[in-house]
């Protein structure tokens, strides 16, 4: 048992200091009828590192990893190249095996990273302030709806049909218990977003309008008219960004009037990881900072006058406010925030813009190539690195068939919106810097064969 340093001699010595005759004496408060007298039946005993690695390796090999195939999936999680130094640095034990920085004198490393992260995120999203991260984009989105309710004292949120359906599901789950009214419909296969319809739906009961940018079909639109309409009615605009690399190429939601901007930070530094852990981004206007959920890091000075950083405004949080807290959130996504921040520091503004330009360029090439396949129509007018193709048959079947041929073709709208069969022929295709010209040709050829 390689992780347990006590020897039997140690154990005996310690028991005698305690004044107990056996380890069982320390468990006397467990009701006798519930005490387990030996190991639980049916479970294997301890195993060597080699044996465990072998077992887990065998399971890992049963998966088709993104790097092994032409890969075009997005819809809220994106494959990007993560520089080697990111993973090296986050594995430094001083980061990896530290706790939440509750003792700031010996946690300045984590705290300075969080301060830098908050600044990077705020600038990327175009908002005044950002927090130290949330669990993921979907929970950040729900927390934004709750925050808008607290600020406006209204309970009706309009969710764009272009919002990720899983984010909608999460919000629906929570709203059942909080009493928020959520208005939402499945998207239609239109070239443009539903912003005009959203503007027409805003009324005096609306707490916020939640719009994804780029949206689930990859469409992009100026949010300024929506922000103006929301503000005119006393409502807030919540913008959701699931692909933050896009903000190296397109305007920041905060600069188009969004009051709260949330997002999924996975695509910078974190990796795919089958959906988690991911990184919730959360930013807002300065005037709403005390209504924000989650941890915040702030600058201060120490007793000797040196600059330092601490967790702050914790009077919003559960460990102080208990049932009156702005959220029950305790853990954030610290290590993922570190990975994001390191990757962003490596990129810098110049690298981020180059990365975004490369993504867009390849996506345009792919869209134009795929649109030439008989039976394929490109839906979008505008897009960043993700777009929707309308096929002549159900895209779920096409995706499954292509997977059997070793091509991960994209995300079908049938998988995302099982209750909306009318859009089942839609296929959402993401193209990042990891896609090669050969990958695009493979997908085009396979689609051509499948749709013939």
């Amino acid at each position: 048992m390689r992780y347990l340093p006590l020897t039997d001699t140690d154990r005996q010595d310690m028991l005698s200091v305690i004044g107990a005759s056996s380890i069982d004496d320390l468990f006397v408060d467990v009701p006798a009828e519930a005490r387990l007298t030996g190991t639980i039946a049916g479970l294997p005993d301890h195993a060597s590192e080699l044996a465990v690695e072998r077992h887990m390796g065998a399971l890992a090999r049963k998966n088709l990893s993104a790097g092994e195939a032409p890969f075009f999936l997005g819809a809220g999680a994106y494959k990007h190249h993560v520089p080697a130094s990111v993973d090296h640095l986050i594995q430094r034990g001083e980061f990896l095996t530290a706790y939440t920085p509750y003792q700031p004198e010996i946690a300045q490393g984590t705290l300075q990273v969080l301060f830098e992260f908050q600044t990077q995120v705020a600038r990327l999203l175009g908002v005044d302030v950002a927090n130290a991260s949330m669990y993921d984009g979907s929970t950040a989105c729900w927390e934004a709806i709750g925050m808008a309710r607290r600020i406006t004292k209204r309970g009706k949120a309009l969710l764009s049909s272009g919002l990720h359906p899983h984010y909608v599901s999460v919000a629906n789950t929570m709203a059942k218990f909080t009493g928020d009214a959520l208005v939402h419909e499945a998207p239609t296969l239109d070239a443009t977003t539903d912003i005009d319809a959203l503007i027409a739906s805003i009324d005096k009961d609306t707490s916020c309008v939640v719009v994804q940018y780029p949206d689930i079909l990859g469409r992009i639109a100026d949010l300024t008219p929506l922000a103006d309409a929301a503000h005119a009615a006393g409502a807030l605009l919540v913008a959701v960004v699931t692909e933050p690399v896009a903000l190296g190429a397109i305007k920041a939601p905060g600069h188009m009037g969004a009051d709260i901007v949330v997002g999924e930070g996975q695509s910078i530094g974190v990796g795919l990881q089958f959906g988690g852990p991911y990184l919730g981004l959360f930013g807002c206007k300065q005037k709403y900072v005390r209504q924000m959920p989650g941890r915040l890091c702030g600058e201060t000075v120490d007793a000797a006058g040196k600059r330092g950083f601490v967790l702050t405004l914790s009077t919003r949080e559960q460990h102080i406010r208990r049932e009156k807290a702005t959220s029950n959130i305790c853990t954030n996504s610290g290590l993922c925030a570190l990975a994001f921040s390191i990757h962003m520091t490596l990129l810098g503004e110049r690298g981020l813009r180059e990365l975004a330009t490369l993504n867009h360029g390849l996506a345009v090439q792919a869209a134009d190539r795929l649109a030439k396949v008989p039976g394929v129509t490109l839906l979008n007018d505008g897009f960043f690195n993700e777009f929707t193709l309308v096929l002549t048959k159900d895209a779920r079947d096409v995706v499954r068939t292509l997977a059997d041929k070793g091509i991960l073709a994209g995300v079908s709208l049938g998988r995302l919106f099982p209750d909306a069969p009318q859009i089942g022929n839609g296929l959402v295709v993401a193209v990042t810097e990891t896609v090669t010209a050969e990958d695009i040709e493979s997908l085009a050829a396979a689609l051509e064969e499948e749709l013939a």
């Binding site: 530290a98 939440t100 993921d136 867009h360």
Partner: protein, 523 residues
């Protein structure tokens, strides 16, 4: 003085007062290097990443191209490695020493777990890939789920919650859904005063009124008071067991029976499962729902504040209401039950809690850890965790007040109070003194039911030598605080920073960096 012939001294001059720590020009102190912010050392035109040239295309961004200066500084790769390496050295960590934060279970994080989580078959798969291409990942979730269900003696487990508090939310949502399904709207959740702050926050988030349960003088739930309060308005009781005073709730089964008789459910905060894994199954104590912090009991790294992972084990009564998605074995293969397929046989689900399937990267680590320990090793984990805590309790209860020292053995954490310290000396002084002694402080001022609480959780991964050194340090600090050693009030002296001004930080929050030149121009 001995000297080589070229004049280089080879033995040090004995240190005199005049040689003590002069200021350096840089502010650095040898290996302790000050590090500026990336905004002060980077530039928006510097990058540490090379890309292939982008193809020339006609933009599809329309009028939305971002033209402002974003203000994101870059560093070369070497500067980046150095920046974060320097910052890392300003952190305390388990890898450096004992990290006795009560309730947080800061145990060793085995590196095999990290290696496994980074296998491309786990790290580089997309959550929405066709299920035929992720059978190994689904198998991991299923295998881990089976371990968690068996170790807890429960009926099922919801794997998707992202952290402990998120797991609490999952449990309470399942309870509320179960009550509503039987047309039984209830409004109150009972929570002990000693509970983690997340418990009342979660109950309130789910729309419940929170009421305190009193404790007895020996630090356990007051069974009679609890029974008297139970009634048709009580939806659930949230109990932490072992509790935050470090004690096992002896009456747990009786409590559960009384709660069930009153038509309510028992939620158990499983933050302290490390003390009892392999020794007792919560299912045998009548628990209906309990979250398991994989980042505590099952050793996934805390990462400076997450990511966590909080699967929730459920009783048979709550299982039909578990969230989507979940993994099911169907013949020889594994299926992910999502919205599309749930209607057939999971129609009562309360819905989805997260975008995808939970913390896969934590599942691979936790399963690796569990398989390494096995059933026998996990039982030994609880044994050693409890042994270590009792050893600390009994080695120090002559110099520090142990408010519940007479209430039987503690479980995996030892609780002390500030009673008996000299006038004006506090738990904070002892905590900061521990920093100078080379330890992370214990959890301080929690649980709230004890004045000046110091909650020490050594975990099972500490050697006797490490415990003895910690005991030596804490004993010395307790003696200094009792003797009124004023120097203690200035601690820490040897950390990267002295005590920080938290009041200033909250009164004038500076949450992002602003270029001083721009700030002056704006004024």
């Amino acid at each position: 003085m001995s000297m080589l012939k070229e004049g280089r001294p080879t033995t040090p001059v004995p240190v005199k007062e005049a040689h003590m720590a002069p200021q350096t020009a840089t502010g650095n102190r040898a290996l302790m290097l000050e590090e500026a912010l990336i905004f002060e050392i980077g530039s928006t035109d510097t990058t540490g990443v090379d890309f292939a040239a982008a193809p020339q295309v006609v933009s599809r961004l329309g009028s939305l191209a971002r033209t402002d200066s974003i203000g994101l500084p870059g560093l070369s790769e070497q500067e980046t490695v150095r920046h974060y390496t320097r910052l890392s050295r300003q952190n305390y960590a388990i890898d450096l020493g004992l990290f006795p934060l009560g309730s947080c279970t800061m145990k060793h994080n085995p590196r095999l777990n990290e290696k496994v989580a980074r296998m491309p078959g786990f790290a580089d798969i997309h959550p929405l890939q066709p299920q035929s291409t992720v059978q190994g990942a689904l198998a991991v979730i299923h295998e881990l789920a089976a371990w968690l269900v068996t170790l807890t003696g429960m009926h099922s487990v919801a794997m998707s919650p992202k952290a402990g508090a998120h797991g609490e939310l999952c449990g309470l949502l399942a309870i509320r859904a179960a009550l509503e399904a039987r047309g039984d709207a209830r409004s109150v959740v009972l929570v002990p005063e000693s509970a983690h702050g997340t418990n009342p926050a979660t109950a309130a988030f789910c729309g419940y009124k929170v009421e305190d349960i009193p404790a007895t003088a020996e630090g356990r739930v007051d069974l009679e008071a609890l029974k008297a309060r139970l009634g048709p308005d009580v939806a659930a009781v949230m109990i932490t067991n072992p509790n935050t005073c470090g004690l096992f709730e002896r009456d747990m089964k009786t409590i559960s029976d009384a709660v069930h008789a009153a038509g309510a459910f028992v939620y158990c905060d499983g933050a302290n499962f490390n003390a009892i894994v392999g020794r007792v199954r919560p299912g045998d104590l009548g628990v209906d729902a309990m979250h398991i912090n994989l980042h505590k009991t099952f050793s996934t790294p805390h990462g400076g504040g997450g990511p966590g992972s909080g699967p929730v084990v459920l009783s048979e009564a709550l299982t039909p209401f578990a969230p989507l998605p979940f993994v099911e074995k169907q013949g020889d293969s594994f299926a992910l039950v999502e919205e599309e397929t749930a209607e057939d046989h999971h129609a009562q689900t309360f819905g989805r809690m997260v975008a995808f399937h939970g913390q896969m990267g934590m599942f691979t680590r936790a399963l690796t850890y569990i398989l390494s320990h096995g059933a026998d090793g996990l039982r030994q984990v609880a044994n050693d965790a409890v042994l270590n805590a009792n050893y600390i309790l009994r080695s120090l209860d002559d110099v520090l007040d142990a408010p519940f020292g007479g209430s039987g053995p503690c479980m995996h954490e030892a609780l002390f109070s500030d009673k008996g310290l000299a006038e004006g000396f506090t738990t904070l002084d002892i905590a900061k003194g521990l920093i100078d002694e080379g330890f992370h402080p214990m959890t301080m001022y929690f649980p709230l039911v004890v004045h000046g609480a110091m909650l020490v959780e050594p975990t099972e991964t500490e050697s006797k030598a490490a415990l003895d050194q910690f005991i030596l340090a804490l004993r010395s600090l307790a003696e200094r605080a009792k003797a009124g050693d004023e120097a203690l009030k200035g601690a820490p002296y040897h950390a990267p920073r002295r005590r920080l001004d938290e009041t200033l930080a909250a009164r004038k929050p500076i949450l992002t960096w602003t270029d001083p030149a721009l700030a002056i121009a704006a004024e």
